[in-house]
Point group: C2
Chain length 698, copies 2
C-alpha cells in the first residue's frame, strides 16, 4: 500500500454506481463531490449516459483515468467493481456499500473476497459500510452525509458513521474545522492505525481525533501511535468502556471488544489522550491545535470575582495542575499595582471595579513570573468591564508570551462579541472555569506524553531453550496446566525462586533437604489437586530428619483424598522468610487485541477484595515497569509505610520486565500467575506458580 | 423574625440612600426597581427632593410606610439607617453597603452593632455586602446588577455576588427563569438555612439552587434542609472543596471553611444534591423542576445510531442507573415492529433509516414495560429523520406516561427548532448523551433523597453520670488527654470492653488477673508515654503467677525510659482474641461548622495507607450507621470476604450509634479514638482508647 495522501487529495474521482435517483446514496455522493471539489468527477454507470450534468461511463475501463474510486453499487457486485478498479490501476478505493461482515456469514465471506482483491492489487481500501471520506484542502466530500466540513487542522476518524454526521452538524454550528475525515466502516483493509500513521506525516494535520469501539492489531497500534504522538496529539473516544457499553458495542459492530483494562493500558502506552465525551474531544482538540504546551503545571488565575475564583481553584485542585506560587517579586509588583482590597496571592483578585486594563497588567505580571506555566482569566460581568476590550487585551498578550492563556468569560449574550475575538485569535473561552482548567490540563497531559522516554524493553540474558523444555511438559497434561513443578521456568528467566526441587521419592526428598540450610517446606505436586492446603498437602518447617516420613505422609494423604489423582511428586523447598517481605502478585495473560499483558498487584485482600491491580501491554520497558508500581494504591506499603522495611523495588521492576520478556517470547503462555512473589528488602522470591500453556503454539 | 415572604413580595420599598448620580449603586437599584416592580418605590435622601422622577423623603419617618428598606448609605451610617427602619416598623431590610466584617476589625465591630439592632427590632436582614434580592413574581429587582431575571420556578441564593451576575447573564441567554434570587452577602442575620426554610414553604419554588462557600450552624442546616428536601430538591455548589480552594475561599470571605469531609457528610445527610459546576447545577434544576422522578433506575435507550448508543450505554454504566432488561413481551413487540437489522435489545436501534414515527412506536413500547423507569432518545441527523417531528412526538408521548423522558438530539443548527419545541414542553435536550444520562441520574438521586427514612437517632440507656466523672479526670492532666484508664467511659456507654482494670500496685494487678480466665495483657498507663510498645511497655500472654513481677518490670522500664514520666499505673486486661475478628477504628471529633462527627474505618493500613474511612455528622440514626459500613471500600472484609467469618455487623452499627450519642452528650470531647475496635462474629470489643477533653465544656 502506498501513502494515503492520494486518498484525500486525488486528481480525479470516479463514483462507481453514480445515479440521479432522488434519495439515493449515489446521487448524494455525486452532489457532494460536485459542490467544492477541486478535481474531476467521473460517474460510472452502464445504464446512464449522463448523471447530474456529467458524462457517465459504462465502466472504469472506458473512463478517463482516476486516482480514487468511490463504490456504491449493490453488495453482490462490489467485489467485481473493486477488481476492475485494481485492473485499471486505481490505488485508492472507498466502499460505501453495506452488507458485509456486519450482516452475518454470507456478508463475511464477501468481505474476505474483498480483502483478497485489495491485497492482490495492493489497494488502499476504506470500508465497506463507510459513509465516505472528506478532505477540506481539496474540497473533497466523498460522503453521502448532509453537511460539508469547514476548513481546519483537525483530522477525524470514526468507526461509527452516525457519529460523524452528528459531530459535523454540531461542529459547523460551533465554527470548528477539519482537515480530513474518514468513516472507517468495517475496516476490511485500512484501519485506525493506518490513518494515525498517515496523519502523523501530514503537516496540515495538527491534531488527530477519533471515535473507536475496538482496535485491531493492538501492538501495531501502540507502536505507531506512540511515535506519532511525539509530534501530533491523538485524542480518542474509545467507547464500550463499561460492561454494558462493551456489550452494546459488540452487538452493534459484531466485534469482540477486548477487555477495558487492556484498552486502558494500551491507549495509555500508545500516548493517546483518552476522552469520554464529544465536548471533551473538541475542547482537547481546539486547545492542542492552537496553544503551546506549558513548561510547568503551575497556573495563575486572574479574576474579578471571588466566588468564581474559588470554583476555578477547586477545579485546579481536582486536576493534574496546581496554583502557581508567586515569587516575592511578583507579589511586590502586585502589591503596588492592585487596590488594597485586591488579593495579590493566587488566585489574583483584581476586584469587581477592575476595567479591562487592570486585567492586562495583572496578566502580564503573572506571565513574567518564571514559576507560572499558564494563565486563566476568569471574568464576571460588571458595570466597568468591557468584555470585548478584555478579549483584545488577551489576544495581544498571548502574542507576546509563550505560555497558554485561556479565558472563562462568565456571561451569556454580553460575552458574545468578545468570544468571537478570542476565537479568531485562537484563545479558548468557556463559560465554565472548570472547562478552562480541564483544557489547560489537556496541554499538560500532552506535554508529558510527547516527551516520554520511549526506552526499548531490556533484553535479558535468559535460557529460552530450557524454558521451552519446561513448557513442553504441559503437553502431557489434559488441561495444559503447570504448577510449582515448573518453577525452573522462572529460574530460566532469572526470577529468583527458593532453593529446592520437585522429587518423586522420599529418598530424593531427603537428599534435596540435606542441601538446604534449616527446615524445609514440602508440598504435594499434582495437576489434579488445586487446593493443596485444604487436604493437608503442605508441610511447613520440616526438619531434615523428618523429610522421609513427611514425603510418605503427603502422598498417602493425597491418595486418600483423591485416589485417582496423578501425583507428580513432592516439592521440597527452602523456607521463604515471608515476614521479611510483602506478598505481591505478578500475572501474565493475553488480550485478543493487544496480545501479552503483565499484571501487578499486592497479594491477598489487595487483589481479591480491593482489586488494586494494574496492567500493561508487554513488552514493557524499565520506566513502564516502574510506573506499574506507582499505579497501585497500596504502593506505599512497598515503600516502607507503617514502619515496614522498604522492599527492593529495583528487584520488583526487574522481575516485571523479565516476565514481560517471557510473555513476549512465548505466545504459548496463555496465563501465568506468580502468587506470591515476596518482595523483601534484599530482593524478591517467587514462591508459587501456576500457568496454562497453549501447546499448539509451542 | 417573621416569614420571609414579605421580603420577596413587599407592597412598598424604600431605597435608603437613593440618588440619581450616574454610575452610583443607589441609582442602579432605583432604576431596577422602577423597571418592573408591581409595588411602590420610595427614595430616601435628605439632600434631594426628587430622584429619577419620584418624590424623595428626608427619612423613613417622613415617608409613607414601607415593608422593605434597601440600604445603600455609606458604611458609617448604615447602623443608624437600619435602626430608623426598625423604629418605623420595617421588618425587612437589605443592606447593600460593603465595608463590614469582610474588611477587618473595624468593619467587624460595625457588623456586630448591625446584628444587635436587627435583633432588637426582630428584623429580617439580608447582607451587608449584598448585591440585593429579586423576585420575578412581583417584578422586584432590588439589586444593582445589570440584568433582570426571567420568570421561573427556581429560587437561587449565593454567597458570591459576582456569581449571581455571571449566572443571570448566562441564564437569560439560555431562557432559564427564576422565582426568587438572593445575594447573601456577609449573612450577618439571614443565612442559607433561613432561605431554604422559606423556599421550602413557597409553593412557587420548585427547586432551590445555590452557591455556598461555607455553612454556619451546620446542625440547623442539616435539620432544615433534610425536611425541605422531602418536597423541594436542593441543588448546591459548595466550593472550597479542595485544599487550595478552601484556602482561596477563606482569603476571599474571611470565613474558616471547615473540613471538606464534614461538608461532604453534612450536605449528604441534609439531603442536598451537591454539584460542582454551573452547567450541572442548571441541568439538575431544569430536570427536577419539570420531570417526574423515575420509579426505577432502569433506563431504555432508543437510538438511530449505533455509536452514540454505545456512548450512552457507557454513560449509564458510569452512573447510578442501569440499562433496563426488557420483558419477553417487549422484545417480541420490538421484533415485530423493527426491521430485521434493528436491535430489539436495549439500547434499541431503530436504524439510520428510521423516520420520527418509528421513534414514537419504539418509545411507547419501552414505556409500556414495567421494568423501564425512564427513557432516553438519542438521535443523529439522517436524511429521513425530521427532528421537529420527533420533538413533537416526544412532547406527545411525555404527556401520556408518568416516566421521565430526555433527548439527545445530536446536531447543531438542524436541531434548533426541535430543541425549542422540547424546551416548551419541558423535555430536557442535550447534544451530549452523557449529559442526558446525568440528568436522569439527578432525578434518581433526588427520588432516594426525598424518600429517605429520617429515623430519629436511638436513645440508648447509658450511664451519663459515670461518664462525666471519668471525663472530669482529664482536668488533672496538663494536656487534657485520657487513655486506657478511661475505658470505663466506653463501658458507661454500653460499648463492650475486655475484662480488666487499671491498677497502681503489683498486688492489685495480681488480684485483677486472678479474676480473669487465662493469661492477661499488661500495659503501662502514663499520660507521658504515648508509644507504649516502643519502650517495652506492653506484655502479652502473662500467666497469673507472673503478673506481680511483670508489673514491677513494666514500671521499671517506664522509669528508665523517661524518669520524669508520671505513671498512672498498669492496665491488666483479658487477652482479646484478635484472630477472631477484624480490627476497625471508630473516632469522634468536632467540626467548627457541623459539630460532632463520627468516623469509621478498618484499622492499620486501611486507615493509614489507603485512607479508607467515612464520617457522618452526629447524632446518627441506625440507617445512617449502617450506611457507614457500606461506605468503606474494605466493607467486604467485614462481611466475610476471603473465607473470613463475617463480623457481627449489628454490633458495629450499635457501637457507632452509642459513640455518636456520647459525642452528642458531651461537647467536651474534642477527639476520641477507639483503635482498635475488634469486630468478631459474636460482637465487638474496644481494645484501646485515647481522647482529648475540653474541660471548660464539662
Amino acid at each position: 500500500m502506498g501513502a494515503l495522501s492520494d486518498l484525500f487529495g486525488p486528481e480525479r474521482v470516479a463514483v462507481v454506481g453514480a445515479t440521479d435517483r432522488e434519495g439515493s446514496v449515489g446521487r448524494a455522493i455525486l452532489t457532494n463531490l460536485q459542490a467544492d471539489f477541486d478535481g474531476g468527477v467521473v460517474p460510472i454507470n452502464p445504464n446512464r449516459d449522463a448523471v447530474l450534468g456529467l458524462d457517465c461511463y459504462e465502466s472504469l475501463a472506458d473512463a478517463p483515468p482516476v486516482d480514487l474510486a468511490v463504490v456504491v453499487v449493490p453488495p453482490g457486485i462490489v467485489v467485481d467493481a473493486v477488481r476492475e478498479a485494481g485492473e485499471e490501476g486505481v490505488d485508492d478505493v472507498v466502499v460505501i456499500t453495506a452488507g458485509f461482515s456486519e450482516t452475518g456469514s454470507e456478508g463475511a465471506a464477501r468481505e474476505r473476497e474483498l480483502i483478497e482483491v485489495a491485497e492482490e492489487y495492493d489497494m488502499n481500501l476504506v470500508g465497506p459500510n463507510s459513509i465516505g471520506i472528506m478532505s477540506t484542502t481539496s474540497g473533497l466530500n466523498a460522503t453521502f452525509g448532509p453537511e460539508n466540513a469547514l476548513e481546519g487542522s483537525i483530522s477525524f476518524m470514526s468507526q461509527s458513521g452516525a457519529f460523524i454526521t452528528a459531530v459535523l452538524d454540531w461542529a459547523n454550528d460551533q465554527d470548528l474545522g477539519f482537515k480530513d475525515i474518514v468513516s472507517l466502516g468495517n475496516e476490511a483493509v485500512l484501519d485506525e492505525t493506518d490513518f494515525i500513521r498517515e496523519w502523523g506525516d501530514d503537516p496540515e494535520t495538527d491534531v488527530i481525533i477519533g471515535y473507536l469501539e475496538g482496535i485491531d492489531h493492538g501492538r501495531e497500534f501502540i507502536d505507531t501511535a506512540r511515535e506519532v504522538s511525539e509530534d501530533t496529539p491523538i485524542v480518542l473516544v474509545k467507547s464500550g468502556r463499561t460492561e454494558a457499553g462493551a456489550q452494546a458495542a459488540s452487538s452493534h459492530t459484531g466485534t469482540i471488544a477486548g477487555s477495558e483494562q487492556a484498552y486502558e493500558a494500551g491507549l495509555d502506552q500508545a500516548g493517546v489522550l483518552r476522552v469520554n465525551t464529544v465536548e471533551e474531544m473538541f475542547d482537547y482538540a481546539q486547545m492542542l491545535s492552537g496553544q503551546p504546551v506549558p513548561e510547568r503545571d503551575d497556573v495563575a488565575v486572574i479574576t474579578n470575582a471571588g466566588g468564581p475564583g474559588v470554583m476555578t481553584t477547586d477545579a485546579i485542585g481536582d486536576s493534574r495542575l496546581g496554583l502557581a506560587d508567586f515569587s516575592n517579586e511578583t507579589l511586590e509588583t502586585y502589591g503596588e499595582m492592585l487596590p488594597d482590597e485586591g488579593n495579590i496571592y493566587n488566585p489574583v483578585d483584581v476586584l469587581g471595579d477592575a476595567p479591562a486594563e487592570r486585567f492586562r497588567e495583572a496578566l502580564e505580571i503573572s506571565l513574567e513570573d518564571d514559576g507560572v506555566g499558564a494563565a486563566i482569566i476568569v471574568a464576571a460581568p460588571t458595570a466597568v468591564l468591557d468584555f470585548e476590550e478584555l478579549a483584545d487585551i488577551v489576544a495581544d498578550v498571548r502574542d507576546e508570551y509563550d505560555a497558554p492563556i485561556v479565558t472563562a468569560l462568565m456571561g451569556g449574550e454580553s460575552t458574545e462579541e468578545a468570544a468571537e475575538v478570542l476565537e479568531d485569535s485562537g484563545v479558548p473561552n468557556y463559560f465554565d472555569p472548570a472547562r478552562a482548567v480541564r483544557s489547560v490540563g489537556a496541554l499538560s497531559e500532552y506535554r508529558d506524553v510527547s516527551r516520554r522516554d520511549h526506552e526499548a524493553p531490556a533484553d535479558f540474558d535468559v535460557d529460552r531453550e530450557r524454558a521451552r523444555e519446561i513448557l513442553e511438559r504441559a503437553e502431557d497434561r489434559d488441561d495444559n496446566r503447570l504448577g510449582v513443578e515448573a518453577m525452573e521456568l522462572l529460574d530460566a528467566y532469572g526470577v529468583p525462586t527458593p532453593e529446592g526441587d520437585v522429587v518423586d521419592s522420599p529418598k530424593a526428598a531427603e537428599s534435596v533437604a540435606e542441601g538446604i540450610d534449616g527446615p524445609v517446606v514440602m508440598k504435594i505436586v499434582s495437576p489434579d489437586i488445586l487446593h493443596k492446603s485444604d487436604i493437608g498437602g503442605v508441610k511447613v518447617g520440616v526438619e531434615t530428619e523428618d523429610v522421609y516420613d513427611a514425603y510418605e505422609d503427603l502422598v498417602t494423604r493425597a491418595h486418600n483424598y483423591q485416589p485417582d489423582a496423578s501425583i507428580t511428586g513432592v516439592q521440597v523447598q527452602e523456607m521463604a522468610d515471608l515476614d521479611a517481605g510483602t506478598e505481591t502478585i505478578v500475572g501474565l495473560n493475553r488480550d485478543p487485541q493487544f496480545g501479552p499483558m503483565v499484571l501487578f498487584g499486592l497479594g491477598g485482600i489487595f487483589v481479591e477484595v480491593l482489586e488494586d491491580t494494574t496492567v500493561k501491554i508487554a513488552p514493557i520497558s524499565e520506566p513502564e515497569a516502574t510506573e506499574m508500581i506507582d499505579d497501585i494504591q497500596a504502593a506505599p506499603l512497598l515503600r516502607g509505610a507503617r514502619g515496614r522495611t522498604p522492599a527492593d523495588l529495583d528487584a520488583v521492576v526487574e522481575t516485571l520486565q523479565r516476565l514481560s520478556q517471557l510473555a513476549t517470547d512465548f505466545p504459548a503462555i496463555l496465563e501465568l500467575d506468580v502468587n506470591p512473589l515476596v518482595a523483601g528488602p534484599d530482593g524478591v522470591q517467587a514462591i508459587d506458580l501456576r500457568l496454562t500453556v497453549d501447546t499448539e503454539e509451542l
